[in-house]
Amino acid sequence: MKLAYISLAALLAASLPLAAQEFDRSSQMGPNPNLPEPNSYLIPPMKTAKPVGWQNGEMPKVPDGFKIEALAKDLKHPRNLYVLPNGDVLVVESDGPGFEKVKRPKAIVMQIVMSGVGAEGPKPANRISIIHDGRASVFLEGLFSPFGVVLVGNDLYVANTDSIMRYQYHDGDLKITDPGTKLTDLPGGPIDHHWTKSLTASPDGTKLYAGVGSNSNITENGIGAELDRAQIWEIDRATGAHRPYATGLRNPNGLTFYPGSQTLYTVVNERDELGPNLVPDYMTSVKDGAFYGWPWSYYGQHVDPRVMPQNPDMVAKAVAPDYALSSHVAPLGLAFNIGTQFPDKYKGGAFIGEHGSWDRDEFNGYQVGFVAFADGKPTGKVEPFVTGFIDDKDQSHGRPVGVAFDKDGALLIADDQGNTVWKVTAAK
């Protein structure tokens, strides 16, 4: 009976309107984010933007001293970018495999909530296009929800959602007809909740690193579905053998070695439905063998009450990530600025494609954020760099995903809802 009283009191408290004071989002940017108490709402606060596309020359906004233009338009759901050594740009046009079946009534409701925020226009193509001399053409077809791409020598690796494929690429190739060779399987269906497999190679080119996201928000598909997931895999390029390089990373994307270092960086989408300001997504250097908490805890030893049985041994091992980006921004792309085109302030800094929130009553993300680096470490707060993806009428024109720097040091942004690749240059 006491349990009932406590529970009902909690229920009432949870259904009261939010406290009037604004939450300072910047308090969740940096190495020691402010973490409020977890909340379980009767209905979690949600807000999604109506996609309207870019009309009549509308464009995202950039800071003074920069210029933005469309590098390629009318693509089919461009998700990720990879710049080849000769300056040609690969555009991964992709979407999830759609394996996830309705397992409980909530899934039906979530489908309705999310149905309004998909891409405008054409169906995703499961292919890679190449932008050469300002013109896009089909580069590689027949892929299966591809996301990550990396070139090592003449070996071009593409991470489908369920495998890493290797293709022969030679400088100047504009089309690949090679059927490809499978290097290794990756965890794909039957659920494949987080399906984007980010990919990069070690600086010496002997190893590949693949981000394998979890199969659920917080193990609601059963812990058995999480085998080999929520990890960054290290894959031997010669044999295809793999080992978990780091674990407990709910949905790691944007795998990139910090230029000139042996340090792997990733941006991670943290868990939902603990409140609008919990848990902050993050960017972190990835320590070999480290466990980052998911599912049992977040930001080190903050135990998630939703996971039963608990795992105190693993929680004791959990390390906190380096740098919080604030909650539910959905970082999916990461690129470091090594070029000389942008002003000095941006040198060596991180540019992060923040796809944007749904699990909040106010939008967060929907921008390319900038985090300055000093001595090889992130510093200061996240600065909005490319904005204007959402407007004050709660409409979204586009959503940024993958980011990359081209050969001339311009920033490229894949906009999967606006079906555009944007190019940001420093105005002379």
Partner: protein, 163 residues
């Protein structure tokens, strides 16, 4: 023969309202009873699934519970809806205190059941432990009490026509 039953009814429960509208047919009454039975089965099943989940936190049990709660809520919404329609349509609709109490408890169960559905949309352990299973139990108890008041109402007002 139907007329005879209706007269019998009004002898026991004097109607205050005007005697207008049709009397409830046996088919209608039986269908309404089935809806209440379906509601009862769903919420009882949900409570059992919740209880099992606490002992064995396998996601299958909480999934069972969410579906049973969803269908339970659907059926109880129909019970409430048809109850309201019956009140306005049937001239032999029982208007005794016990039937009002039945309606009150069913309505309360519909509300706790709705909250329970929302709590069960959460992911993982806290969708069941604590508030979730408490609401499942509360809903079932309210339904059972409501059912007893219905039986009390029927024992006062309805005559079974054996023919």
């Amino acid at each position: 023969m139907t007329q005879a039953i209706v007269e019998e009814t009004y002898v026991v429960t004097p109607a205050v309202e005007e005697e207008i509208g049709p009397s409830q047919s046996g088919v209608s009454f039986y269908l309404a009873s089935m809806l209440f039975g379906a509601t009862l089965v769903c919420f009882a099943g949900a409570l059992l699934a919740d209880y099992t989940y606490l002992g064995d936190p396998d996601i299958a049990w909480s999934n069972f519970s969410t579906w049973l709660l969803a269908f339970g809520e659907f059926f109880i919404a129909l019970v409430v809806l048809f109850g309201i329609i019956g009140y306005f349509v049937y001239r032999d609709f029982p208007r005794s205190a016990s039937n009002w109490l039945y309606g009150l408890f069913v309505l309360a169960a519909a509300i706790t059941g709705l909250f329970d559905n929302f709590i069960h949309t959460h992911d993982g352990w806290t969708s069941v432990a604590g508030t979730g299973i408490t609401l499942s139990a509360a809903t079932l108890v309210l339904l059972l009490i409501g059912g007893l008041f219905k039986l009390a109402t029927l024992s006062q007002t309805y005559v079974v026509d054996a023919r």
